[in-house]
């Protein structure tokens, strides 16, 4: 139990450091087990230093920086044990355009490294343009959802739908 958690921690930490640098275009970060020598009792601390900035507590990072850091952790865990399906519900919401592109680059990379099928819910036109296919969910009848295949142009009209 303990050994497996420590082994997983080492692997996740390795992926996390790489993914952070990829998403931030530099800087450095790492995970630490704290508060206890027993990994099953320890806490998982995140130390992050975006490029050109001093290392700081996570709380001082901006909304977007925190999102990218958490995303690095999620995908680090994912790479350690890839699942057949990955669902991301509006994770791009706090990101600026440049970071949305990096997020999509990361999805492409995950798609190359694994056989995982990705489902991404988004309001962001940049993300939509990077998907292989799009499905729209509508409520033509109030309170009743319908699923329909859409292309990018229809999707953008969807955004004006209500």
């Amino acid at each position: 139990g303990r050994q497996r958690l420590l082994a997983a921690f080492e692997q996740v930490n390795h992926h996390f450091k790489d993914l952070f640098v990829t998403l931030f275009g530099g800087g450095e970060a790492e995970l630490q087990l704290v508060e206890s020598d027993d990994p099953l009792e320890a806490g998982l601390e995140i130390l992050a230093k975006p490029p050109g900035k001093k290392p700081q507590t996570m709380t001082l990072l901006s909304g977007g920086e925190q999102a990218l850091t958490a995303m690095s952790l999620i995908f680090a865990i994912f790479l350690t044990n890839p699942s057949p399906i990955c669902v991301l519900d509006e994770v791009d919401a706090p990101l600026d355009d440049a970071n949305v592109e990096r997020f999509c680059d990361l999805l492409d990379e995950m798609g190359r490294r694994t056989d995982t099928r990705f489902i991404t819910i988004t309001h962001n036109p940049i993300t939509m343009a990077r998907m292989r296919r799009l499905f729209g969910v509508t409520m033509a009848e109030r309170g009743v959802s319908q699923l329909v295949s859409v292309d990018l142009e229809q999707a953008e009209r969807f955004l004006e739908a209500s």
């Binding site: 921690f9 996740v12 958490a70 099928r117 988004t122 799009l134 699923l147």
Partner: protein, 168 residues
């Protein structure tokens, strides 16, 4: 195990029978606020054996059953099916003889949920283990709920370690 199709009937705002084909690569889901995008992917977590109604945003598991709208009366049954291609034969032994696995969960108001795999009734635990063996499942780190990124950031270190345990 490859996920190929999700079918919903009576699940939250998907009162009519709906089919979602899951294809390789990146699939985007779009639409206005409140139209049902999160409901759609919640159905997937639900059929994988999500046991907590709180993780379904409800105050009881019956909250996943269509509760009515402007014109339509409430339903009493919700059913979701997930179709899995098992040609690689890497499912747990109990289910590994089949080319295709269809996992179904059906809930009836005030009577709880019934799970089936290829028509045969199984326990919730069997379904949870089926997905856990494939490094998947309702609590898999790869299922990121709306707002969950914020939760990870503000989580206490102990809670974050538990996310790691899901991966180990």
């Amino acid at each position: 195990m490859i996920f190929t199709k999700l079918r919903l009937h009576g699940f939250k705002s998907f009162v009519d029978s709906s089919e979602f084909l899951i294809e390789p690569g990146l699939t985007g889901i779009v639409g206005p606020n409140g139209c049902g995008k999160s409901n759609l992917v919640e159905a997937m977590r639900w059929v994988m054996g999500e046991s907590s109604y709180k993780n379904m945003r409800g105050s009881g598991m019956d909250d996943v059953i269509f509760s009515g709208s402007g014109n339509r009366p409430a339903r009493n049954i919700a059913e979701v099916s997930l179709t899995i291609d098992n040609s690689a034969r890497n499912a747990p032994a109990a289910f590994n003889q089949s080319e295709t696995l269809e996992v179904t969960r059906r809930i009836e108001r005030e009577s709880g949920s019934v799970y089936r795999v290829n028509g045969k009734e199984v326990r919730a635990r069997d379904v949870q283990l089926l997905f856990a063996d494939a490094s998947s499942g309702a609590r898999s780190p790869a299922m990121v709920r709306q707002g969950q990124i914020g939760e990870i950031i503000s989580a206490k270190p102990q809670a974050r370690r538990r996310i790691l345990e899901e991966a180990a």
